[in-house]
Structures are given as C-alpha cells and as structure tokens.
Amino acid sequence: MDINNLAIALFFTAVTAAGPALAADHTDHGKQDAAASSAAPVDREALWKKSLAKPSLAVTVDFDENGRLWLAAISGQHIYVSYSDDHGITRSAPVKVNAEPENILGDGENRPKIIVREGVIYISYTQGLAKPMTGHIRFSRSLDGGKTFSQPVTVNDNLEIISHRFDVMGVNNRGQIFIAWLDKRDLSAAAKKGEKYAGLGLYYAVSDDEGKSFHPNIKAADHACECCRVAMAMDTDGYPVAVWRHVYDTNIRDHALVRLDGKMVPVRLSHENWNVAGCPHHGPSLSIAADGVYHATWFSNAPERQGLFYAYSADRGRTFSAPLNFGNPEAQPAHPYVLSLGSRVYLVWKEFDGENTGIFGMRSGDGGKSWSVPEKLADTSDMSDWPLLIGTNNQAYLSWNTKNEGYRLIEMDDENK
C-alpha cells in the first residue's frame, strides 16, 4: 500500500518533470521515467478529460470592414460563430466551425481566435488531446461569409502528443496569416536525450494563400514560459510582432518581444525580475498604432514590482518607455488588455473589491504619454471572462462576457466627445 503510494508519488514527479521546466528541481529524468512506467497514468488523464468538459466563458470578437461584429464562442465540443449588427444585443444563428466534436480549450488564457478580413473569416484554436496539458493548433476559415467553415487543419507539424497550445493569430493586408503558439517539441527532444530545457519554444506558421496551406513551422524563440497567453499585433509593414512571458536565467519570468520578420532576434521587454517556479497563467497584450508605435501591457508579481504595467516603444520594440504601474494594488488588478487607435490608447483590466469583479479602463490621447484617471466600466458578482478591447470606425469598445449578465460590448468614452 505504502509502496504503491510511493510509486504513484514518483509518477507525478516524473510527469511534471517531463512537462513544465523544472530547472530548480534536483531530479533525474531517466530514473524517474523508469519508476513512472510501473504506475498507470489513468487517473491523471481522467482529470484532464474532466477539465476539458468544463463550460467556457470565452467569447472572442472582431469587427469586419462594415462594422458588423463577429463572435466566436465554445459550446460543448464545438466552436460557434455568429454575428451582430447591434453591438452584440441580438445575434445571428450560430454556425458550427468544427463539424466533428473536439475538445476546444477555452479556460483562462485559452480562447478561440477570430479575424474577419474582406469577407473571409479566419479561426484558430487549441484542441486539447487525451493526455494532460497536450494540444494541437487548429485552423479553419469560411469563404462564404460564415455560412460554412472548412474542415479544421492541424497547423503544428510536430504531431507528438505534447503541448502545442496558446495559439494566437494575425492577418495582414497581403492576405498572409500568421499563427504563433507555445510548443514543447524541443523540451520533448531534450528529455529524450536526458537533457534539460527551460520552458518551451515559441513557434509560428505562415500561410500565403489565405489559409489554404501553411509553410513549415518556424521557431521564433527558445525558453518561453509554459502557460501564459501569447500576444500578437500587426506592424505597419504587415509583419506580426509577438510578446510573451519568457524564462530568463533559471526562473525569471519577464516578457520578451520579437518581430516575426525572420530577422529580428527576441529582445527583453520587461525587467521586473519575477523569480517564480510556477504557473502565473497571466499573459501580456500588445497593440500597434497606425504610426508604428508599439503599446504593450503585462502583469508581474515580483516582490518589488507588482501589478500591471504599460510601456510603449517608438523604435519597433528595441527600447520601451519606463513602465507605468497602474491599477489599484489593493484590488488584485489583473488581465490587462491594450488597444491603440491612432494616437489614442486604451487600457482595460480586471479588479476585485471583495464582492464584485469590475472592469476598469483608462485612456491616453497622446500615444501613451499621459493617462486619464481609471474608471469602472462594468462589473459582475460571479465568474467572468478576461476583458478584451476592439475598435471599429475609430471607436474603441470593451468586449466582456460574464456568467450572470452574458456578453456585453461597451463603448469606450473619449474626453472630447
């Protein structure tokens, strides 16, 4: 009995050692794997399957060129797309994206992505696989205005049952699609050789034919943090820029940035020096203005540098302004999101006052140099999705789904209106 317990305990250690980076853990992969093989992993897989079945509050949106709002949401084992011409109040009948049922990740930092450009609807998402914390990056599109969707394809060209998760998508005006994600293939390869590898890789794939096909996967960076969303925005020249939480040294989990132009070497964006051997589940956001200024926001819980931060870069990410620390530190400010519309910049984030979750926002009229006083835009008394910002026709909106109130699209006020 006790020996069995020991074997199972060792199994857990082995699974996690093969999963997230355990640079601080003094264990030996080879020995642990041997111990693990004697214990059946049934229970852990059952747990994962149960977690996959949890209902998702994730709603992702985009405006098309005519100001029509398109929504992607998860119900059961399908993604459904609908549209609204009245800011989400009434919606069209939802259309199924994936005909075959799949486990679609939609909790916390995971959500399906939707982009609508010139009549084409692009969808990316992460499909959860049978083993815990594993997934494939999937893509589908609609060429008939959302009436039907193509059979989803797997974008990652490494097909091991490992983590390819936390997809993010961008489409430029040349019709190119970029999908980036966090990928454990290098960790998996290192583990097979008995070597260590901190974190996982950031990979991406490009389509030059509006998603008919994708070029082979490209690695953008080694040693990204395992479980925080990746942010992506299109630069003015049509190259996407990615921002993610990175693992520096042993376990410093600050942010990095790279332009996916095939030339740029990743640079460090934030320097809070948050040393944590754990899962923050709290990724960054990025927006690029028409004038080419990068606007980034992120979270840190480093002892000396806590909370939400914002900074901008006028030189394509090489240097950033001194980070602005915002949000009420007594109210758990969390999950910030940024949107720029010309020289106007908007930030939204979550706060919790002990009873209710509120979405707070502030705006800048001068490209992020000065900011309005934060104000509460919406609240709820139960669980809710992360807040998002989208813009159309030079107007910014907060997009937020809550368990009690449902989906809301809320206009962001401007000072001069």
Binding site: M1, I8, D25, H282, A331, Q332
Partner: protein, 165 residues
C-alpha cells in the same frame, strides 16, 4: 552530486514510510468565505504552513511530494493544504490527496464558484499563481511565496519554528 542528493532523498522517504500507519481517506473540508480566518485564528501563536494547489498545476504535485516527505520527517509540522479546484472536483482532489498521503494535515477544497472572492479574503496580493505557500511563524510573522519551494528552505523554517537543531 545532484544524483546523490536525489537517491539520498529517496532512501529517506522509503525508510520513513515503513512504520507509517495506513490512514483512512482524509476528510476534505469545504473552503468558503470565512474559512481562511477560521484556519488562521485556530492556530494563533503557533507555527504552521498553508499550501495552495490545484489539479492542473504540475509544480504543485512536485511540491506535494515534498510535503509528503516533510510531514513524515517532522511529525510536529502543522500543514494545511487547500485545493483551489471546484467542489465538483472533490473526487479527483480526494484521489490525488490520497496518493500524496499527507498524514494528519488538514485538507480543504474551494467551495465557492467565485474563486476571486475566496482569494481576496486570503490575500489581496495573491493573483492565483500556484503553488502558493504561506508560512506563519509562532511570532505572528507571515511570509508568502509563489512558485515551487526549495526543500532546504522549508526545512530551515521548520527547524527554526519547531526548535530543531
């Protein structure tokens, strides 16, 4: 050197396992509003550790195996283990805890769908990152720590608090 450390740790675990009595399934208490205060005030003036974990957190499992070893090595250690999963996941949480068999440690499970509210009561400066551990000293001094702990640091704290050499 590292390898030696691992085996030494393993031997210790095996040895200390042998005389341990088989325990019945542990009671898992529902963690609701007020629970945290209840846990803390019941222990005033005494040293204890509160550890938060969840089923989906890989590092937490590594840490639970460490605590498994520590509660055997230091039977005086007052450890409270709180799962941030949902009450619907009781069965899975219970199964996992049984595997880690944490002796007489008190075990709890979040039982309010609004986890933000529970977290706020615990610590306004905690954002839900896991594992999360609080060290309550006998002198009332509290230390919060996010991420996987180093065993030597925890042992040092235990020795200081419980008066081991």
């Amino acid at each position: 050197m590292r390898r030696f450390g691992f085996f030494a740790g393993l031997c210790l675990t095996v040895l200390s396992l042998a005389p341990a009595p088989t325990l019945a399934a542990q009671e898992i208490k529902p963690f609701v509003r007020g629970s945290y205060q209840q846990i803390v005030s019941a222990r005033q003036g005494k040293p204890f550790i509160i550890n938060f974990w969840s089923l989906s957190c890989g590092y937490c499992k590594v840490e639970l195996s460490m605590f498994r070893e520590l509660v055997r090595k230091y039977p005086q250690l007052d450890l409270v283990v709180i799962s941030t999963d949902t009450y619907e996941e009781m069965e899975s949480v219970s199964g996992t805890l049984e595997m880690f068999s944490l002796g007489k440690s008190e075990t709890w499970l979040f039982a309010d769908s609004n986890t933000d509210r529970l977290r706020f009561e615990i610590d306004k400066r905690w954002y839900g990152e896991l594992p999360r551990t609080y060290f309550f000293g006998a002198d009332g001094k509290t230390n919060a720590f996010s991420g996987k702990l180093e065993q030597k640091d925890v042992e040092q704290w235990i020795m200081e608090q419980y008066g081991f050499r």
